[in-house]
Symmetry: C2
Subunit: 192 residues, 2 copies
């Protein structure tokens, strides 16, 4: 039933899917190009033609990761029209992304393997940053407010992932959200 033509047809997309699955299972540090190829049902050297080396594949996965990241933020911001509540929603989405796709989170924010000079990856990262700037601008904040929101959201997500935030690890989901809201609230520019 599974005929295997010599030419795959859309191997690039298949490798991206296999790579994302492999990433989720093994994590960035356990990521293997040969395992991705095997999962896609192709020889171990095939990926080279589409992504060059392992860094190329991880760069493409990171670019895709930023899309997933943005989607998580959007999903949480969609519920309201209040700009302040939108900023809190973005922080919630940040936590969601870290919890649901930890390997992608680590790939995007804590790995040196993706090629940071890649134009598409850079554009994806820039797009996410500009989105936060827009959120803060709607609140009348400045660049320091952007840094504060960015950093607090990222810090909570990253530390929780590593199990380093003793104050959050034992909490229920509702309690965690309350904590995130509490921290973000005092960070956002005061109501004008």
């Amino acid at each position: 039933m599974e005929e295997k033509p010599y030419h795959h047809g859309d191997l690039r997309a298949a490798l991206l899917a296999a790579g994302e699955a492999e990433l989720a299972e093994r994590g960035v540090e356990g990521f293997s190009l040969r395992a991705v190829a095997k999962r896609a049902g192709v020889s171990h050297a095939a990926p080279a033609h589409h992504f060059g080396d392992v860094g190329g594949l991880l760069t493409a996965l990171a670019t895709e990761g930023f899309v997933r990241f943005q989607a998580k933020l959007d999903a949480r911001e969609a519920g309201t029209d209040d700009p302040r509540e939108k900023a809190v929603g973005a922080a919630f989405g940040y936590q969601d992304f870290a919890r649901d796709r930890p390997a992608l989170f680590r790939l995007i924010f804590s790995s040196a393997k993706p090629d940071a000079s890649n134009p598409e990856l850079h554009a994806a990262a820039e797009h996410a940053y500009r989105h936060l700037v827009g959120l803060i601008a709607a609140l009348g904040g400045d660049e320091s407010d952007v840094v504060a929101l960015w950093a607090a959201s990222h810090g909570m997500a990253d530390l929780a992932l590593g199990g380093r935030l003793r104050g959050m690890s034992g909490l229920s989901m509702a309690e965690r959200e309350a904590m995130v809201r509490s921290v973000i609230s005092r960070i956002l520019p005061p109501v004008s």
Copy 2:
């Protein structure tokens, strides 16, 4: 001049030093047990007797890393007696550590390779956490204040390392400190 006795004498310490140097040069993702052994002038299988596997060595290095981390915080807190200024100093020290020892920073906070269940590593991490709790307690804050200070400090340091904080990457050192102070100031519990 360099006689090479069969028994090294203090190979464990030598491997830790070589490992830390190797970590600084290659980063966590480029870390190699064989390279560490070669740097220490010993066979590639020698480290196993002292650390078991590569995870064991990285666990020991992470434990040591927490000491270096704490030292950076202490150095910045030492300048003042004002508890509020001490908390800001801790945030400064956090940035210093990330800048001066990026690989150690990544090993401690963003790697799955160290064994999180290791008692000594756990104790070292717990010690660092309790230190922050003490800083906040001196300000009359609660657990959410600890999370806020922890997360904001960590977020700025980690994002700056990854080059993701557009708002901080172009700044001079003085400007960066001003930014850190601005963010931390609004996070600390209000003056009573």
